[in-house]
């Protein structure tokens, strides 16, 4: 009997950082082949959610499971997750070729993708150049190469698209989609609403550590009462809808 594809489940996760509750009972799941875009205002808990998923942020409650199995130590997480931090920079001294070889030498890396990814990410022309000599977008492409070649079931990427020009962005989105089509689940933090719209199968809207909504774009439109609205409009409408409700709740009886 073929087992059901494993899903990444983040269940009722609460976490505190510097005495501030950065995640408050957040639940979300990512299925294989799905791209979940995580959006929200600054300080909403987007990065904390990814850090909680890899175990870097201690949970006060809740749990992270893959295929129903609770994730343990680094070795176990490494078999299932790839994580890229938002401000990550490849080591400036190391030549690009060495970084690419390092990514390919990682356990489980898909060697068949190497040539195509090198070409699509435009890395061939600076193989001998140290990463520090490249532009920010070029450096980010090296890290994306490592993520996409890793062949881990789930990629957790913190703002991977923020540094690209519109042409590069189209390429990167196409690569993410191809990756999802191979069965990889992606949880991607996105700041630009247009990027999220172009990229995501589903969208998770976080605010002040809480999940306000998680649905397809059409589902979110329905929730916000804005059929045909852009994600930007839906985002603002859902945030505004929450604030009066909260103010009402806080008002003295």
């Amino acid at each position: 009997m073929e087992s059901a594809p494993a899903t990444l489940d983040v269940s009722r996760v609460t976490a505190v950082r510097a005495r501030r509750r950065v995640l408050d009972g957040v639940s979300v799941s990512v299925a294989p082949g799905e791209i979940l875009a995580v959006i929200g205002p600054n300080g909403a808990g987007k990065t904390s959610l990814l850090e909680a998923a890899i175990g870097a942020l201690p949970l006060t409650s809740g749990e992270v499971r893959v295929g129903g199995h609770r994730l343990g130590g680094i070795r176990e997480r490494a078999r299932r997750l790839f994580y890229l931090a938002g401000e990550a920079e490849p080591p400036a001294e190391v030549p690009v070729s060495t970084l690419l070889a390092h990514a390919l030498a990682a356990p489980g890396a898909d060697q068949r993708l190497a040539a195509a990814l090198t070409e699509r990410l435009g890395l061939r022309s600076f193989r001998d150049v140290p990463a520090g000599a490249l532009s920010r977008g070029e450096r980010r492409r090296i890290l994306l190469f490592a993520a996409l070649v890793s062949a881990r079931p789930f990629l957790l990427l913190d703002e991977p698209t923020g540094v690209f020009d519109p042409m590069q962005l189209l390429d990167v989105i196409a690569l993410f989609r191809a990756c999802a089509a191979r069965g990889t689940g992606l949880m991607v933090i996105v700041h630009q609403m247009s990027d999220a719209e172009a990229l995501a199968s589903r969208i998770l809207l976080l605010d002040e550590g809480r999940a306000l909504a998680c649905d397809t774009l059409d589902g979110l439109r329905g929730l916000a009462g804005l059929p045909g609205g852009s994600l930007q409009q839906v985002f603002l409408a859902l945030l505004r809808a929450r604030q009066p409700a909260e103010n009402e709740a806080r008002a003295p009886s």
Partner: protein
């Protein structure tokens, strides 16, 4: 993949800059040693007896290694700390650990790469004995190699301490400060050596690497010294691994650190208790005469010396460096007690009548003496066993006085102060120069 880690260390300008600075420090130590050796050798040229005192291991290699000790202590922890802390500064540590999936592998590769970077000054220092040979000096390969082996062990230790600091710190600045403080703590332990007022720190001496380096510098391959460095380095790497465990939080993290410290204490204690030491010096000059060494090892009963000498007494230092070191080679089970340390009374206030006396115990018999001469003490040990002193003859170390002057001294100055540091800078520039993109 080791290549990435090696590139991270060896393609960084700071690595080669520290190597060049270290080469200057080491070179300066070498030049001073050569000049002092030459000054002494001029007066020794007249007599054979004085010539015997000219030992290039102690006169040239050891002062040169003194500069290396300083360089490794200052720069080694920084190179080690940078190897991990830079991943934190660049927010790649989580990616790296999840990419590899094996924490021990990541730490081991980081350590090997850091050791390659921190070890560059050793490569520079290793050129200086060759320079000494080229200007007509004498060195015995085995004793020089053992002395350098000690410094390779020390480099491994300081880089592991740096890695551990980098693993626990949030940035390179924090890591560098913590690593240098850890090494400075060992300096504080060493500083207690000559002061009675700091006798209370006597037990801490076992935790300073300097004492273990000493046996290497004397041309003695001591298993306990190798064991201590192996244990301390391994335990520091275990701590580095714990520091990298980003999935450990709160009490679990504290428990893991406590377990790491227990491993550190256990590994060092176990390492320094390993028996076995070999004198590889020319003419075995750091050992008792062969017959005495052979026979003393066979004497039944436990050997102990209780010494009424405090830390500020020069006789104590001489006793430790000469007689006790030689006795320990023959009898690794020798136990030495420094009674003033145990009383913790400053020497100026020490009014005990027996001050300066040594009590030698073998089994249940004992004898007192105020001599610190190795022949006298060895004779007394054999008397306690009811045996005569064995043959005391030992092959004479001829001594190798050498006056380096004129063109040869100029060559020494040029290589020490210019050629080696410049070589490091040139290699650094070649490895770190910007490369053009291929079209």
């Amino acid at each position: 993949m080791l290549r990435r880690e090696l590139a991270l260390v060896l393609r960084a300008r700071v690595t080669w800059f520290q190597a060049a600075l270290a080469a200057l420090l080491v070179g300066h130590g070498f030049v001073l040693a050569v000049d002092l050796y030459a000054a002494g050798s001029r007066s020794a040229a007249a007599g054979t007896l004085m010539a015997r005192e000219f030992d290039p291991l102690l006169g040239i290699v050891r002062p040169t290694l003194g500069g290396l000790y300083l360089a490794l202590s200052l720069f080694g922890p920084l190179v080690g700390a940078r190897a991990i802390a830079i991943e934190k500064d660049r927010r790649t540590i989580h990616t790296l650990l999840l990419q590899s999936g094996s924490l021990p592998r990541v730490v081991a590769r980081k350590w090997i790469a850091a050791l390659a970077g921190a070890g560059l000054p050793i490569a520079g220092a290793a050129a200086l004995p060759l320079l000494w040979l080229s200007v007509g000096g004498h060195l015995k390969a085995s004793e020089t190699a053992v002395a350098f082996m000690g410094y390779v062990s020390y480099a491994g230790f300081v880089t592991a301490v740096g890695l551990a600091a980098g693993a626990f710190a949030n940035s390179f600045a924090q890591a560098a400060t913590a690593a240098l403080l850890a090494i400075a703590a060992t300096f504080a332990i060493d500083a207690a050596e000559g002061f009675s007022a700091l006798a209370w720190m006597g037990g801490a001496a076992a935790w300073s690497p300097t004492g273990y380096l000493h046996s290497f510098e004397e041309g003695t391959f001591s298993v306990s010294s190798v064991g201590w460095f192996t244990g301390a380095t391994g335990a520091a790497l275990v701590l580095a691994g714990i520091g990298c465990r980003f999935d450990l939080h709160g009490k679990r993290r504290v428990a893991a650190i406590a377990a790491g410290l227990v491993v550190l204490i256990g590994a060092c204690s176990l390492g320094r208790r390993l028996p076995g030491a070999w004198d590889v010096t020319e003419s075995r000059r750091h050992s008792l005469p062969p017959a005495a060494a052979r026979e003393i090892a066979k004497l039944p009963g436990r050997l102990q010396i209780d010494a009424e000498l405090d830390r500020e007494d020069s006789r104590r230092r001489q006793l430790e460096l000469d007689t006790l070191a030689k006795l320990r080679l023959a009898r690794p089970d020798l136990r030495v007690r420094w009674l003033p340390d145990e009383r913790r009374t400053p020497s100026a206030l020490d009014t005990s009548e027996g001050y300066g006396q040594l009590t030698i115990r073998l089994g249940d018999r004992s004898v007192r003496t105020s001599s610190t001469s190795r022949r006298e003490l060895t004779t007394l040990i054999f008397e306690l066993a009811g045996r005569p002193l064995p043959d005391w003859t030992q092959s004479e170390y001829p001594g190798y006085p050498l006056v380096v002057e004129g063109g040869r001294r100029t060559a020494v100055l040029a290589v020490s102060y210019f050629v080696i540091p410049a070589l490091f800078l040139l290699i650094g520039v070649a490895l770190t120069r910007p490369r053009r993109r291929t079209p």
